[in-house]
């Protein structure tokens, strides 16, 4: 199955949900409408010709632009086809909420927690959306472009000397 066939296959089933696709050195990336990510995820996982059953990684990107500032990237793998697929979802800064895909791939649980911890993107319906790297009381999101590399003074507590 070629990349074009994969896109056609998903488009035939969910024409409204696919906003675009691009190919770079045979890597296929599909831009998905935010509210339809769960439906697309369910389809690419369960369709007998695709079977993208393994979620390699879910991560965030801060594009640092006024509109649609953040991007959530889902890297999938099909053990059946031995192929990778990348899904992308764009989300704005004022209400950065994306539906969770933990109902489709339980392995996305910690990846989504990491994305929340680093970028502040919430995942609606996530069973356990806590920080995973930084302490619970930390109030910032370190991988956002406007976060200074050396951190914000006094934002992290140390034991008293």
């Amino acid at each position: 199955m070629t990349n074009a066939e994969i896109v056609d296959r998903i488009k035939a089933q969910l024409p409204e949900s696919i906003l675009g696709s691009e190919e770079f050195r045979n890597d296929l990336t599909i831009l998905v409408r935010k509210d339809d990510i769960v439906r697309v995820a369910e389809f690419v996982k369960s369709d007998p010709d695709l079977l993208f059953d393994l979620v390699i990684d879910v991560c965030g990107v801060d594009l640092y632009q006024p509109e649609q500032r953040f991007e959530v990237v889902y890297n999938l793998y099909s053990l059946n086809m031995k192929r990778y697929l990348r899904l992308k979802v764009r989300v704005g800064e004022d209400n950065p909420v994306v539906p969770t895909v933990t109902s489709v791939w339980p392995g996305a649980n910690w990846h989504e927690r990491e994305t929340w911890d680093m970028f502040g993107i919430k995942f609606a319906g996530h069973p356990d959306l806590r920080r995973i790297y930084m302490p619970e009381e930390f109030e910032h999101f370190p991988l956002r472009k406007d976060f200074p590399l050396m951190g914000i003074p006094d934002s992290l507590s140390l034991p008293r000397r």
């Binding site: 790297y133 930084m134 302490p135 370190p142 976060f147 050396m150 992290l156 140390l158 034991p159 000397r161």
Partner: protein, 148 residues
């Protein structure tokens, strides 16, 4: 207390191995419970989340107690100029000897141990183990430059 947190711990293990043999200097007994320790060797990068753990283990050690800060990361944050890494463990606990290196060679750690023994021999018993600091000839252990 071998507080091995990252790659410096490998050199610390090498220090305990027969080739360098830390027991030549009367300090071979590495204890893995803080209750039986008097020196903590902090060997590695300490981030803010880990700092609370390091401090807690230090607090569990009985007095008198001393700390060796091993390597660039523990002493200054090292190459990790980052929001997550404590830029020197002396921000949250007292340190007696700093060891330079990334990671320090085992000879370097042994040198630090001898410096600490020198320091302890000048401490008074009455002052609660915390006598006034003597000006050290060498503030940190120098690399020997010679492989063993």
């Amino acid at each position: 207390m071998p507080m091995g947190i990252s790659c410096c711990a490998i050199e610390m293990m090498a220090t305990a191995s027969p080739r360098f043999d830390i027991s030549r200097f009367g300090s071979e007994v590495m204890r893995f419970t803080p209750r039986q320790c008097d020196v903590m060797i902090v060997a590695g990068t300490v981030n803010y989340k880990m700092a609370k753990v390091v401090r807690k283990i230090y607090d569990q050690m009985p007095e008198p107690k001393w700390v060796i800060s091993m390597g660039a990361c523990a002493s200054t944050g090292g190459m990790f100029r980052s929001y997550a890494v404590v830029q020197g463990i002396d921000q949250f606990m007292p340190v007696d000897v700093y060891v330079a290196g990334c990671p320090p060679r085992p000879e370097n750690l042994l040198c630090a141990l001898l410096e600490l023994q020198k320091k302890i021999s000048n401490e008074s018993v009455i002052g609660g183990g915390q006598s006034e600091p003597i000006p050290p000839k060498r503030p940190t252990a120098e690399p020997t430059g010679q492989p063993a």
